[in-house]
């Protein structure tokens, strides 16, 4: 049996979470959380850690020369963040773009969408 400690990243409070795990990796208990989301986060961290990715992609034809902020609308597998960055580096969208526009559906097959974070007008 072992104790695993994590800082919760669900909200700015940052609770100190602790999980008791047995020799087979089975979770025996979770404590330290002050809400249910914290418990769910710790469970995910021990089984399938996920992170929302925020980054940018190229945008052509924009009124101002800039990059377009994008985010995944849910967590993707933490171990695939750098793979995701490589995919983003190859994406170019064309202005105009509206905030919330879906740029890639089912991004990396992770069941989340890549969405635009900002409205960018065309030239």
């Amino acid at each position: 049996m072992s104790m695993i400690k994590k800082t919760c990243i669900v909200c700015p409070i940052g609770c100190h979470l602790e999980a008791e795990v047995d020799g087979d990796g089975k979770i025996l208990s979770i404590s330290g959380n002050t809400c249910r989301r914290g418990e769910a986060y710790m469970r995910d961290e021990l089984t399938d850690p996920r992170r929302t990715l925020t980054s940018t992609v190229k945008v052509d034809g924009a009124k101002y020369d800039r990059y377009l902020p994008v985010k995944t609308d849910g967590g993707i597998s933490k171990g695939r963040l750098f793979e995701a960055m490589e995919v983003l580096a190859k994406i170019t969208v064309t202005a105009p773009v509206r905030r919330g526009d879906v740029i890639v559906e089912n991004f990396l097959g992770e069941g989340v969408s890549l969405v635009a974070g900002k409205t960018v007008d065309s030239e």
């Binding site: 990243i9 980054s55 990059y67 902020p69 963040l81 900002k118």
Partner: protein, 421 residues
Amino acid sequence: MENKKIIIIGGGPAGLAAAIEANNAGIAPDDILILERDRELGGILNQCIHAGFGLHMFGEELTGPEYAGRFIDIVKERSIGYLCDAMVLSVTADREVTFVSPTEGFCRVKAGAIVLAMGCRERTRGALNIAGTRPAGIYSAGTAQRYVNIDGYLPGKRVVILGSGDIGLIMARRMTLEGAKVLRVCELMPYSGGLPRNIAQCLDDFDIPLYLSHTVTGIHGKERLEGVTVAKVGDDRRPIPGTEADIECDTLLLSVGLLPENELSREAGIVLDSITGGAQVDETMQTSIPGIFACGNVLHVHDLVDFVTKEAYRAGASAAAYVTGDAAPVGDVLTTEGKNGVRYVMPQKLNAQGNLTTETTLFFRVDNIYRDRAVVLSVDGREIFRRKKRFLEPGQMESFALTEDAIAAIRGGKTVTVALD
């Protein structure tokens, strides 16, 4: 000379919210003018592409551009006046605003009321006096953030970050994701000023080491940065001889504090607070000059944009009330003060005849980390109420709303004190 009922200087989160609330209070959209220095509205949020904004305002976590976008949409839908690429050169005590713009040229506009919403700037290497050469490769964290997130440039490959506030932590992750190697984050203090979750998701997730009680003492390289010397610091925050280590790197990011940007306020003759670096204001956000209001990071540096928005709503409503003649008459003015561990209290003034309610809120910061203390509010030395706090830290802005008892005491008082016990 042209006239506007309300001129708002700065089109970031504070300016946008002030404009919207002034319009809500009955000022026509074309009687409001937001002057923004950058080419687009949104301020610093445009480059804060990470999530974590809006939990208080919207009950969900937005990215910076998404948060700003919600307010920009309202300003545009209502046709509230704004001008980008407009650089304000001066503000006078009789509310004359001078600015230049590529489309409008040199302009002078008389305002019924002014809202100062210019935000803050980053502390620079010059302010830290780090010894060494002056090579390329040294950036404030926010400058690097703009290069990466808006312009699409990666400023370097091997990075040391000085300062573990949230901007430093966020940039450690961002540079790493974009392919740079962040070698370490150094923090002068024995604790990080950043949120615990940012230590977890920006440093721990990527195995970036955090060196507490460490600082940069030397900078090396002629044309381009070639390395820095770091050293451990003692309790006096001075480097301990013999603990120096040289680290090879091509980039140093400085995330070492923010300073309200008040050149315009100073030249207008507005009384500034030596601790916050912003104007002294009363509960309506009015500065020492009637009809000029201030809100957001130009007033005092905030932890959360949600609180900037709320403060700016108050400033926008107050500016509207000033213009329409609905503002409360200024009566006896009380001074607020922080004592015994409380660094500052905002607002610095309270109008005894003003519209004080149980929603009127005092904001303050403490000067160190404290556990299990009480925050006591007194008027002229008489304790009115106390609130227990399990944990207080400098990085966390604290606040409480006035009680009926406190308001009654303030109506006849002179000094309001917030102190730790």
